[in-house]
């Protein structure tokens, strides 16, 4: 398997040949793994995979004995020295575990945004603790995952608890881009995503270990961590834009500290700032959002009695949405007793990721990581939970109910339809709206600036739909987006139009009850198609188009069944449109492969799966990785391909088609050579490589012979050969054994 001569086209690929012992790959590259535990884990995973139940009905077919004798178990990891990353243990398992995770990732990426607006003294207090970004930076990581269940009531009054709810804290003082320069600035954001991936790949010297490969091989990571990085980055590109309100603030925290000399005046001033000061939101953001008042009490320096008094006063003035947050102002260092590390921000935009710290692994003991007192962490967590559970969620539920009542139901009813019809055809009946234009447009769309004002019904409906989406009431959001689509088309508000189509399809796919029939899936496909066309051709908005296609792929894939084929098609479309860079090409090829692999065979039959297609795309992914000079990723993909092909190829694992065989042999050889080069082995000299690799095989032969001799020859000349001499004897040439036997 190891000699370079295995690139010869005639020979079957070594990894497919059953005779290769699995041990060889381990002993051959002794410095390959950093420690023994991953290999142990891999072995465990391996054995579990082997013992994983084959689909019960295929076992009844005649191929079971063949399969048990098939080269798959042995050749599993032998082609290249690599830990296997299996993307599906059994079809069922693979589809559920992985897709749930991706689904949760997608849902969490659309979480409500809470603005942070802190007074100067609060920021000063927090800076003492080591957080240069002030109060916002302090609480930001804690918003991303609210501990415990968050119960949300949907529009029909049914409650459901969510474990993975979160909010996004943003700095209100930060610049929000105007809609005009957004398209120019965001087109490069895909390049930034690519840069992040590149950095991620480069920073981990060994992509096998570290942050790229999860340790839990037993839990069968179904998606590569690199792909998750990509997905997360892609979904966190978007900043506040007019056409969707996910990044518009739902609430805003107004924080002062106990050091403030004029607390109530400062609070008023901050509130005024958010209304019409420098923190005023643009015209297209709904200005009425929840304000939440926080008093940060300095435990180390100030008197709690004073603060409590002030807090009571705040409650009297501002009502229920208040919180007293008790923090210590001293900086915490690692050596402190109750120090806790500040968690990493999960949702950083690519720009932040690029400008931020390089890698948590690199600067472990420098000032890169921040620590907090345990008590502070508890206080912040309690504060965030209270904020979300008692203020933000009820507020959003309330807004959805009110808007649903006042705006949406009016549109849904028969008179609403008539209103919109008459408005469309005659230009009257617009009621309070200012009719600037005639014809089909409602006149609410500001063509020159490209947005709806925040108080127009179109914008309010969109906001309501987005609220419902963030509250995970996908039924309501889907129907509202559906309502909006035609309005936007009439107004030629193409970005809005694309967004409505995209989110309508996404909500339909996320809605667990609407199990897709063929008809519905066709409709969903149609919607994605429209959205993608609008984004790309009409708005030339590549990041959103890619987001749309990626969401389409992931959500359709998680549907399983025949939907995976359209999922694969969307991934191919994303590649064809040139939306992804070279690293993305590799990732998407892997995704296409995963999509096809998720297709389970027809029950009881051998056919119906898409293993050949999945295998083909894995090979392509390997090729793409090799082009990028990532042999370790390439060999992982190649192994995946072997595993997928194992079902469809005959026992010796060779491809029936000669040109395919040649290509795969060459690819395998190239991967191996590059891998060894990356490991520092000199492969230019082919003979030395062959020798270096070949030695193990000869010693193996010796080993075997020794065993035989110890079994057979020992009884004969026990006196001559003591048991202690045995091992030393092995070092001699094999000839001795022959003579003796």
């Amino acid at each position: 398997m190891t000699s370079p001569g295995d690139a010869a086209p005639v020979k079957p690929p070594p990894s497919f040949s059953p005779g290769v012992p699995r041990v060889a790959s381990k002993t051959r590259y002794p410095n390959q793994r950093r420690d023994s535990s991953p290999s142990l884990d891999a072995d465990l995973g391996d054995s579990r995979l082997r013992s994983s139940p084959t689909p019960p009905l295929s076992a009844t077919t005649s191929d079971l004995p063949i399969r048990s004798a098939s080269p798959r178990p042995q050749s599993f990891r032998s082609s290249t020295p690599q830990l296997a990353r299996s993307s599906l243990g059994s079809p069922v398992e693979g589809r559920f575990e992985g897709s749930e995770e991706i689904r949760s990732l997608i849902i969490r990426s659309f979480s409500p945004v809470v603005g942070v607006c802190a007074s100067a003294d609060t920021d000063e207090l927090v800076r003492q603790k080591g957080f240069a970004g002030g109060f916002w930076e302090l609480i930001r990581p804690f918003g991303e995952n609210i501990p415990g269940k968050i119960v949300i009531r949907d529009s029909v009054g049914a409650s459901r608890g969510w474990e993975d709810f979160g909010v996004r804290f943003v700095d209100l003082a930060g610049k929000t881009p105007t809609p005009n320069d957004s398209s120019a600035g965001r087109s490069s954001s895909l390049a930034q995503v690519e840069d992040v991936l590149d950095k991620q790949l480069g920073s981990t010297d060994d992509p096998l270990g570290g942050s790229l490969r999860p340790k839990d091989f037993l839990s069968f990571p179904t998606t590569s961590p690199l792909y998750k990085v990509f997905l997360r980055q892609l979904l966190s590109i978007s900043s506040a834009t007019p056409h969707e309100t996910f990044r518009h603030p739902v609430a805003s925290i107004i924080a002062i500290s106990s050091r403030n000399t004029a607390p109530l005046e400062t609070l008023r001033q901050l509130y005024a700032d958010t209304n019409n000061g420098n923190k005023k939101v643009p015209d297209w953001v709904h200005p009425e959002y929840l304000r939440y008042y926080v008093l940060v009490h300095d435990e180390d320096r100030d008197d709690i009695a004073e603060s409590t008094k002030l807090y009571d006063q705040m409650k009297r003035h501002f009502g229920l949405h208040c919180h007293l947050l008790r923090l210590r102002s001293n900086q915490c260092v690692v050596t402190d007793d109750d120090s806790a590390q500040v968690p990493e921000c999960e949702w950083q935009s690519p720009a932040e990721r690029l400008s931020g710290r390089i890698e948590p692994l690199v600067d472990l003991d420098t000032n890169g990581l921040l620590y907090l007192f345990e008590s502070d962490v508890m206080a912040i967590k309690a504060f965030v939970r209270e904020l979300v559970a008692q203020s933000v969620i009820p507020y959003m539920e309330n807004r959805v109910a009110v808007w649903n009542d006042q705006v949406a139901s009016r549109r849904r009813g028969i008179s609403g339809r008539f209103m919109s019809m008459s408005r469309r055809w005659a230009g009257f009946g617009s009621g309070s709206r200012s009719s600037l234009t005639a014809g089909g447009a409602s006149g609410n769309y500001d063509l020159s600036h490209g947005y709806y004002k925040a108080d127009t019904p179109e914008a309010v409906l969109r906001k309501m739909a987005d609220f419902a989406f963030m509250l995970r009431d996908w039924k309501l959001s889907a129907s509202t987006y559906e309502l909006l689509r035609s309005d936007y088309a009439n107004d030629k508000a193409w970005r809005y139009h694309a967004g409505a189509y995209e989110m309508c399809a996404v909500s339909m796919l996320l809605n667990p009850s609407a199990i897709g029939t063929k008809m519905k899936l066709d409709g969903v496909d149609q919607m994605f198609d429209t959205a993608c066309y609008s984004y790309l051709t009409r708005c030339s908005d590549a990041p959103n188009a890619l987001r749309c296609l990626t969401l389409a792929m992931e959500l359709l894939k998680s549907r399983g069944g025949s939907a995976v084929e359209s999922a694969a098609r969307w991934a191919m479309r994303a590649m064809d449109l040139g939306l992804v860079g070279p690293i993305g090409q590799g990732l998407f090829s892997e995704r296409v492969s995963a999509c096809y692999a998720a297709r389970a065979p027809v029950s009881g039959m051998k056919w119906g799966s898409r293993h050949r297609k999945a295998g083909m795309w894995s090979v392509f992914a390997a090729d793409a990785w090799l082009r990028l000079g990532k042999p370790s990723l390439a060999s992982a993909s190649l192994e995946e391909a072997e595993r997928l092909y194992a079902d469809v190829l005959d026992a010796d694992g060779s491809f029936p088609m000669p040109e395919m065989q040649t290509f795969i042999d060459n690819l395998r050889h190239a991967v191996k050579v590059e891998y060894l080069e990356a490991r520092g082995l000199d492969t230019r000299d082919e003979t030395t490589t062959a020798e270096a690799l070949g030695t193990e095989e000869t010693s193996e032969k010796l080993d075997r012979r020794r065993n035989r001799k110890s079994l057979i020859a020992n009884p004969l000349d026990l006196g001559g050969l003591g048991p202690a001499q045995g091992p030393r004897d092995n070092d001699n040439a094999a000839n001795d054994d022959f003579e003796r036997a």
């Binding site: 191919m572 090409q585 898409r610 793409a624 082009r627 990028l628 088609m657 040109e659």
Partner: protein, 189 residues
């Protein structure tokens, strides 16, 4: 339009391969695939991967001619299939001609393997009339032309495998069969 025709044995071993181009509407009968010359294995990859769908379609469909069963969108390659009683399968890959687009350059040349224009299939109708086989790989005219081609090849295939010097599973080396297939391709495609 470029074609790649394969006869596969029941165990997926290729018995016969031929690549040819269209002879209709001024074509010179030479295959011009979208892959570079170094990547001709792509045809076999696509054919091989479409066997998944063939296996499925042969149980869903009562006919020997399965029509257009599979598409490989990145290269806009279309696969039509035909079943024979012995279990051998005829697979025809057809690919509309590539228009000189600049879409393929958008992939920054990173992968000659995957990077090919998707828009080529949409725009190809500008060249030939709608009735032409080359225009639209999924049109009824194309389906009919492929059916005629398949039927004619099938007749010749039956005669070839009835030869006393042919054993089942052997590669078909008969030059007569090859010329007959070429003629059928010239006639129908």
């Amino acid at each position: 339009m470029s074609y790649y025709f394969t006869v596969l044995s029941p165990t997926d071993v290729p018995l016969f391969n031929i690549a040819f181009g269209t002879s209709k509407s001024g074509g010179d009968g030479i295959a011009r695939f979208r892959f570079p010359d170094t990547a001709q294995y792509m045809n076999q990859f696509i054919i091989h991967s479409s066997l998944d769908v063939v296996e499925e379609a042969q149980w869903m469909n009562g006919n020997m001619y399965l029509k257009h069963i599979d598409t490989y969108p990145p290269a806009s390659a279309y696969i039509s299939a035909f079943l024979t009683p012995s279990g051998a399968r005829f697979l025809l890959l057809h690919q509309p001609p590539q228009l000189p687009t600049n879409a393929s350059s958008a992939t920054t040349g990173s992968s000659s393997l995957l990077g090919s224009s998707f828009s080529g299939s949409a725009g190809s109708s500008s060249r030939a009339s709608a009735s032409s086989v080359a225009a639209n790989p999924t049109s009824p005219q194309t389906e009919e032309a492929v059916r005629q081609f398949m039927t004619e090849v099938y007749e010749n295939y039956v005669k070839t495998v009835m030869s006393p010097f042919y054993r089942q599973g052997m590669e078909i080396k008969s030059s007569v069969f090859r010329s007959k297939v070429t003629a059928a391709g010239r006639k129908w495609l």
